[in-house]
Subunit: 314 residues, 2 copies
């Protein structure tokens, strides 16, 4: 098949996954480097990661200052951008600084701008997507997306401490309507009052979802379901350049791999989570979406095999 | 076989593993409980854990105040105590307090007492043991043990930040003479100047040992060798009661399982490390050695299978 033929086929393929979330211009300072107004946001990372597996569409909002080059970059990564809304005003901006060990970060500023009045609208073909990833946005917007997603068979919801504190009721509605809740260990503790991953996951499963993923940063994640726990290893990279968006890349690649597998059985879940770890590990080796630009599916598959070999006992 | 016959056989079996380290009376405060003068020390935890697998002998020192009940407890756990030295004076004492999340601990006091003039002496049969675990004591004492261990085929050395800071030269000699160095992630960074586990392990392997294990507390550990990395999962427990000695139990059970397997090939190493995780996970579910008192090999094997199932992808 020629490259051209492949592109045409991609354009005509039905959408497998719709992702909603934030799009931001990030200013990030690490111990070794500072980058200004680089492309970020949960939907950017998640869609870039998912697009290695299936046709993925983004739902997000940008302002009139959003660089044309960044829109072109989305398309170059194979992301469907028909759900990208442009609004009068400035694009959401975030700036933060990472401490020496890259584990702790401090937010310097957050300017919501057009994100403040964001009302996600799913294009017609997005409404038929079987997989929906609700990136970290306010729970009422996540509910609004769910109301439009008529064909969804598997919904994953991400969240953050802010919504747990100020919008718990709406968040509980999102959780009850999701197949999987994905959050980090601190958020799980804040939401359930339990520090133990096991107890915390049990409580969350009791609220509706069939699966819960508790993320632990550079240490991987834990999947909990009725069939028990699965310890998701993180791929150990040589050097973390910028950990921003790692959780979103993890979620996106997981959803993409799962949609590609066309199954939510235990084996498909575990494999998809490993793909999440692998793609996230590439993502943190560069700023913004840079690491994804020259990445191939073959690179991903090779690292997947390496990660399997790093966890295999017998 | 009757229990009596089994005991006799145990007494006559050759020693597979000799462990040297500290014996302490610990006073420990956690967010929910305080315990005074409970049995602790690296050699106590390591020997208790190893004894589930092979005949294990301890080399350590106590004072005249050391309770007879604690000596009886060692024997009840099946530990060979012929290398236990009793000296005039008081037993080593440590007291510390754990923060709410049990990850951070603060030392309140350390009284070396008889440990200050400790000179480890290996009984004749210990000198023929094929496996030696050098628990965390000063590197010059670890070297002194190595000089006596004439039949050692596999030596594992543990260490801590103090020795890295004040006795680096002797520590380098210990590392060069060991088959495996075991230390936590912060110690590895302090020793090599590298935060990346991968880079840090490469440097440590260059100093002589064929294997390096970098421990990450509740997140497990990483084994590095010429055949690559193995990500050692930690078993997620419902509730951590007291994490003291977890690293020592991990090391002890690992060495015991390895000695039992009688092999240092990749599969034996990986299985032994999983046994380390399993036994350490039981250990933290109670204070001191309490969790080991009613623990059976069948309990350990069952949790081993559960942990395998939690990491298996295919």
């Amino acid at each position: 098949m020629t490259a051209k033929a492949s592109e045409t086929m991609t354009a005509n393929r039905p959408l497998h996954l719709a992702v909603v979330g934030s799009i931001g211009l990030d200013t990030i300072e690490t111990p070794v480097e500072k980058r200004v107004d680089i492309l970020g946001g949960s939907v950017s990372y998640a869609c870039a990661a998912a697009s290695f597996f299936v046709k993925t569409g983004m739902v997000g909002v940008v302002g009139t200052d959003f660089p044309e080059a960044y829109e072109a970059l989305y398309r170059r990564l194979g992301i469907d951008t028909s759900g990208l809304q442009k609004q009068d005003g400035k694009t959401f901006r975030w700036s933060g600084v990472y401490e020496r060990n890259m584990n702790a970060r401090r937010t310097l500023s957050t300017d919501l701008n057009v994100f403040e009045s964001f009302s996600p609208k799913l294009p017609t073909d997005y409404r038929q997507a079987p997989c929906i990833l609700l990136g970290n946005i306010s729970p009422d917007l996540q509910l609004h997306v769910l109301d439009q997603a008529q064909a969804a068979t598997f919904v994953v919801a991400d969240t953050m401490d802010l919504w747990i504190r100020i919008a718990r009721e709406d968040l509980m509605r999102v959780i009850a309507r999701s197949g999987m809740l994905m959050l980090n260990d601190e958020e799980a503790e804040l939401l359930t009052g339990e520090r133990s991953i096991r107890r915390s996951a049990d409580i969350l499963l009791g609220w509706g979802p069939s699966h819960v993923v508790i993320k632990r940063g550079e240490y991987g994640a834990v999947l909990a379901s009725r069939s028990g726990l699965f310890l998701v290893p993180a791929f150990p990279v040589d050097a973390v350049v910028d950990p921003t968006g790692a959780g979103d890349s993890f979620a996106g690649a997981f959803m993409g791999a799962l949609a590609e597998a066309g199954s939510t059985d235990d084996k498909a879940m575990r494999r998809a989570l490993l793909f999440g770890s692998v793609v996230a590990s590439f993502g943190v080796e560069a700023f913004s979406l840079d690491a994804f630009l020259n990445l191939t599916r073959a690179d991903i598959d090779a690292r997947f095999q390496t990660l399997l070999a790093m966890t295999r006992v017998e």
